[in-house]
């Protein structure tokens, strides 16, 4: 005799389960598996909880402008070619756009500029940046000798790049389908048992700050490549830091950077929780939920040594983290033909 319990579905095949009074378990007539009632109840409970909506909200700091005394010492420039807008102090002259190399940059009026909340000061000098660039180009067989002259290397410029820093405590709740496979030999046969588990992990961590580039003039992937920045070393903003450097004005609102911050937080929460699921042959995430508490966003200027150089009609960008010295820049794509030539030369045994 069986008792109906139609609201429980078989985790193996999805058919309805019935309680077997003989087996004292939940039986599946369709696939023949039996399950402890408690396991089925727990699995069903997870299913229900997994349907709640995710909460990843942030609180944006209130906006402040430069005060009058500060404004008196600051100038802005606008590039007529690419539209980038920079802020510099009165002693720093900008003659060429650092983003596109155009010389047509015009002084403008500093109005409605967002005063950054904090700044990470430069720790790497221009000389260190130039050396890093020379090293970067060294020993690259496919790179033409004329690609980078000393004159061009001179042009590397210190730029404060605006970022939104997202800070929050994240709580995650993840479920995984897992299997544990064991095999033993039985004469001429291998007998393989695959045990299936539903695994759930809940936990959280604090993110000091996840930076997201707040300028469309700067390539976001390039900026992520020179991470991380140590934002514990950030100071309250003071225009004294701008001396000798250019500061890019942000043109992406914090709210528009939020999805990328969420994506990175979520990925870290999931992978950390997944790393605690051990002892299984396979682990497949089936549901991830992340909630944020104390989510705060601030604008911080990050130090970047930047060089844009044009070669045969294309622009190549090199960037160094002005705090840590992390240096990046793609040399790839200089000529498609170069790869063909390398290949042919190698085929002929020349190279």
């Amino acid at each position: 005799m069986t008792q109906a319990a139609a609201h429980y579905k078989c985790p193996c095949c999805g058919a309805s389960l019935t309680f077997g009074s003989q087996s004292q378990q939940m039986d599946c007539a369709s696939c023949g598996n039996s399950f402890p009632l408690e396991a089925i109840q727990q699995a069903a409970e997870i299913d229900v909880q997994n349907t709640t909506d995710e909460q990843m909200n942030w609180q944006f700091a209130s906006h402040s402008d430069f005060d009058e005394a500060e404004s008196a010492h600051l100038k802005t420039y606008r590039c007529q070619n690419c539209g980038s807008e920079i802020v510099a102090d009165e002693t720093t002259a900008a003659t060429e756009c650092v983003y596109c190399g155009s010389p047509s940059i015009l002084p403008g009026v500093l109005s409605g500029a967002y005063r950054p909340d904090a700044v990470i000061p430069f720790q790497k000098s221009k000389k260190e940046a130039m050396d890093a660039l020379r090293n970067h180009c060294k020993g690259k067989k496919l790179l033409p000798k004329t690609f980078m002259s000393d004159n061009q290397i001179e042009k590397i410029t210190g730029v404060y790049e605006p970022f939104w820093l997202f800070q929050a405590d994240a709580e995650g709740d993840c479920t995984f389908n897992c299997t544990r496979v064991s095999a033993r030999r039985q004469g001429q046969y291998e007998v393989i048992n695959t045990a299936h588990f539903l695994v759930r992990r809940g936990g959280g961590m604090s993110f000091k700050q996840v930076p997201v580039d707040a300028s469309t003039k700067m390539d976001d992937t390039l900026m992520e490549s020179i991470e991380p920045y140590d934002s514990d070393k950030a100071d309250d903003f003071n225009i004294g830091y701008l001396s000798g450097y250019q500061a890019q004005r942000h043109d992406v609102a914090a709210a528009d950077c939020q999805p990328r911050a969420n994506e990175r937080v979520r990925e870290s929460v999931l992978s950390t929780l997944q790393s605690t699921v051990i002892g299984y042959s396979s682990v497949v995430p089936v549901n991830t939920q992340v909630q944020l508490r104390h989510g705060q966003v601030r604008q911080v200027l990050m130090p970047v040594w930047l060089l844009n150089t044009r070669w045969q009609g294309k622009t190549y960008t090199f960037a160094m983290n002005g705090q840590t010295g992390q240096f990046v820049g793609d040399l790839l794509g200089i000529t498609a033909a170069a790869y063909g030539i390398a290949y042919l030369l190698f085929t002929m045994g020349v190279l």
Binding site: P11, C12, S34, Q42, A43, K140, K141, L142, E171, C178, A183, R185, Q186, Q188, Y189, E190, V191, I192, N193, T194, A195, H196, F197, L198, R201, G202, G203, G204, M205, S206, F207, K208, P211, D219, T221, L222, E224, S225, P228, A261, R264, V265, E267, S268, S271, T272, L273, T276, S281, S282, V284, V328, G329, D330, L331, Y339, A342, Y343, F346, T347
Partner: protein, 258 residues
Amino acid sequence: MMKKALAVLLLLLLMVSPALAEMSRVVDQADVLTDAEEQLLEQEIAQIREKYKFDVLLLTMDSIGDRQGDYYAADYYDNNGYGVGPNHDGICFFYVPQGDRNGNTVFFVKTGSGERIFTDDVDDEIANQIRGYMRQQNYGGALAQYVLAVIDQLEESRAINRATRLLPIFAIAGLAVGAAVAFSFKSQMKNVRRKVGAMSYVRDGSFHLSRQQDIYLYTTTTRRRIETDSHRGGGGGGSHGSFTSSSGSHHTSSSYKM
């Protein structure tokens, strides 16, 4: 044919579009690849999946105990949901560096259309192409060459004219070396990458686990006849098999001592 091979090679090298964040196709548990090699291989495989609707899994393991390598790889492929389309089309390259039973052996495990496209002869040829790299323990080179060979074979199976299999052997060798060299140049030239996650910004010691539930559900059991090992090994020749994995799907396999 030379031209076609070159075209395929250039295509392969010029692919720089970032793969969507999803399941890894390079699962290097034995840690024989560098991170840069893994990322490049991931990118190439993402392109294969898109262009040929065919999956490639590159799997290495430190040890799988006494299990038979091709069965293990097939289970891994099935249980983690690899393969494209209803027949889970794809191929798995599986390698265990050390061990009595599977040590230094390369397995090609094929599923769905992979069983038809990668015949025993094709597998033998591919195994010969990568053997040089494997013996030098140049695993990045071996897998780059393997992925190239897979593309070549997929391209060929698409072509109507099967007569193009007459690629002279020196061209294959040149392609192999040229590709590996160009491959390493490419990784030299490119270092701008998107970050995954934000682990470097997690406050030290802030991680806490508040819930931990491991619920046992059920067990499935399969029995399989063990292939005799008598014709395995022996001077680098391959052995070929056909079997059903524990999830019930069909696979064929080739294995080679390197």
